[in-house]
């Protein structure tokens, strides 16, 4: 901000100078004393707007293409003479996607798994983080270290043993089978612990002197003043659960228990729609748009949560 303001001050000073004023310094002066000159505008456009516009376009164009294609009739897609906008927008692709595979059921399953999974994960994260910060226990350092290391272990490596375990308990094609193995939360615990450490100790001491036990201190003091951090953990968890793929893919093979990403794979593999891009784009829209809407509304929390660590080190 500071450079910008300084520059516009310069410009005004030069312009108000009745004598026309000599440019302050040779080379830079030319462009400075006439801020709206073509050269200046072109330079701003080329270095300022153009890269931004390009970057935005590269991101937005494929998603826009997805939405537009999902509204096109098959004849407009299976053609080599492409038009950007659909001639007569239709929801036929959505209808066909829903009749080929049970998309409404996929949606319901995704909602159930996401809501139950993220609720439990958030509660577990709050409880564990509170215990790690505010309750005395001999091996806290070692336990926290174990949680940090768990952050590094890719869930994909654990897929086969967990599959054998869940299958052994008849958990294939069940909600609990989809949800249970992912419930332990190292990420949420880590993030909330770092936040709890920054809470002023005096508040908790005051509550303790007033006779509040751990549970009252947790629910009536710590949780209410940690709203944004808990929201961050909740949103990142929701995004993760909704998009989760490898585990639901392995643990479900009956369509009525599949989540949306798995169902989209099923749609892609079914014979009648294997190359029907309009139908597949309709499916992609249903998977992508809910998270896009959540992101658009609450991105401040999501970006903060996902880029955590870059600041805390």
């Amino acid at each position: 901000m500071s450079t910008q303001t300084a520059e516009s001050f310069d410009e005004r000073a030069t312009r108000f100078d009745p004598a026309g004023g000599a440019p302050p310094s040779g080379s830079q002066g030319d462009s400075r004393d006439r801020p709206l000159s073509w050269r200046n505008l072109a330079r701003t456009a080329a270095t300022g707007y153009l890269p931004l516009l390009l970057a935005t376009l590269v991101v937005v164009a494929p998603l826009g293409w997805m939405v537009l294609s999902s509204l096109k009739a098959p004849g407009e897609i299976i053609t080599t003479s492409l038009s950007v906008l659909p001639h007569s927008p239709t929801l036929d692709n959505y209808a066909q996607a829903a009749t080929t595979v049970p998309f409404a059921r996929f949606f319901l399953n995704s909602v159930v798994v996401t809501v139950i999974g993220s609720t439990i994960k958030c509660v577990l994260a709050v409880l564990t983080a509170y215990a790690l910060v505010f309750v005395n226990f001999p091996f806290k350092k070692a336990i926290f270290l174990a949680i940090l290391v768990a952050l590094m272990v890719p869930p994909q490596v654990s897929v086969l043993p967990n599959y054998i375990f869940i299958a052994g308990l008849d958990g294939l094609n069940t909600y609990w089978g989809i949800i249970l193995p992912g419930l332990g939360t190292a990420f949420g615990t880590f993030l909330l612990r770092q936040h709890f450490l920054t809470l002023p100790a005096s508040i908790l001491e005051a509550a303790e002197i007033d006779g509040a036990g751990h549970f009252r201190r947790l629910w009536q003091v710590v949780v209410p003043i940690s709203g944004p951090s808990i929201a961050t953990v909740a949103l990142v968890t929701i995004v993760g659960e909704w998009n989760d793929y490898i585990w639901p893919l392995i643990v479900t093979d009956r369509p009525e228990m599949m989540t949306l990403p798995v169902g989209l794979t099923l749609l892609a593999n079914s014979d009648s729609t294997s190359q029907a891009w309009g139908v597949l784009m309709a499916g992609a829209v249903i998977v992508i748009i809910p998270i896009l809407v959540v992101f658009a509304a609450l991105q401040r929390f999501i970006v903060a949560g996902l880029t955590q660590g870059s600041v805390t080190g």
């Binding site: 494929p62 998603l63 949680i147 994909q156 751990h214 996902l306």
Partner: protein
């Protein structure tokens, strides 16, 4: 990293009634989560090592112990060069690509032009979207006949390559999409680094006559080294785990059989070779472990902390 907890410790009066009660409270609060992490994150690492010594078809009741047989097969058959090669290319290209492009976008976003917050959100958005959905959209764009890319190439008189059938192009395709999805993450993290940069140093250099390029290369970039280091580690770890995009765009693993994807294909694809799949998982895990270790030992010391 935050230095140890500031709370007082009950070091020598550890088992007073109060300490005992605290210990119970701690266990009541933390145990469910810790048990879940231990059981579903740590236990599988050891179980995998055991499975990796078996010749075992998924779903069958009997398995024979083959010791290191699966590892010997992996490293002596053609699998190791192909899988490790694909993993190395995919990882290097996606880490390099998303970091370099992310830095460029961050520099563009760091200018005071209207609309940059919208651009920042837009660039970050793909990072939170479903890899399956995104992969599907790009598969359509890459379609050699009806895809938007083929249409653009025809516009300049070129024929679209067969992205899916050619193993090298399939790998290139998933790399492009992965970079597209992840560069916004790098951009936003780099942007945070750029914005916390000390202004006085840059202004001093500008007064001394250093141009924008020189200022960036000799001042900003070195000052960003903690950010670069952080991104290198996080993107490396996530690239090695990339699954969704590869699975949806190149389901046969033709040219795209990275460690994680090959491990999936061996167990849950056509072969049902659980033991062999576990061995590949162990190789991946050891690789992750070695890289995390190297990072802690060497790289961190060379980083400039502003």
């Amino acid at each position: 990293m935050v230095k140890g907890s500031p709370r007082p410790k009950a070091a020598n009066k550890r088992w007073t009634p109060r300490a005992r009660r605290d210990a119970w409270v701690f266990l009541a609060l933390a145990l469910p989560n810790l048990v879940l992490i231990a059981f579903f994150t740590y236990r599988p690492l050891f179980v995998n090592m055991y499975y990796s010594t078996l010749d075992w078809t998924l779903g069958s009741m009997d398995a024979t112990v083959v010791g290191l047989g699966n590892y010997i097969e992996f490293f002596t058959s053609g699998d190791a060069p192909a899988v490790l090669g694909a993993t190395a290319i995919f990882t290097a290209a996606t880490v390099g690509g998303s970091m370099v492009l992310g830095l460029l976008v961050a520099v563009a976003l760091n200018q005071k032009v209207p609309g940059r917050t919208i651009a920042r959100s837009a660039v970050f958005a793909p990072y939170v979207l479903s890899g399956v959905g995104v992969g599907m959209v790009w598969l359509f764009i890459f379609d050699p006949v009806y895809g938007a890319l083929a249409w653009m190439l025809r516009g300049v008189g070129l024929a679209s390559p067969q992205w899916i059938n050619n193993p090298n192009l399939a790998l290139a395709m998933v790399i492009i999409v992965y970079v597209w999805k992840n560069l916004g993450y790098c951009a936003v993290v780099y942007l945070a680094g750029l914005q916390s940069m000390p202004r006085d140093v840059l202004e001093a250099a500008a007064l001394d006559g250093a141009g924008a390029l020189r200022r960036f290369w000799f001042i900003s970039f070195p000052l960003l080294s903690p950010t670069t280091f952080f991104l290198l580690i996080t993107t490396l770890l996530s690239s090695l785990q990339a699954f969704d995009i590869i699975k949806i765009m190149a389901p046969t693993g033709n040219g795209t059989g990275t460690l994680i994807f090959e491990s999936y294909l061996q167990a849950f694809g056509a072969y049902n070779r659980a033991g062999y799949s576990a061995a590949i998982s162990v190789v991946l895990f050891v690789l992750l472990l070695v890289m995390t270790g190297l990072q802690l030992r060497f790289v961190e010391r060379k980083v400039h902390y502003a």
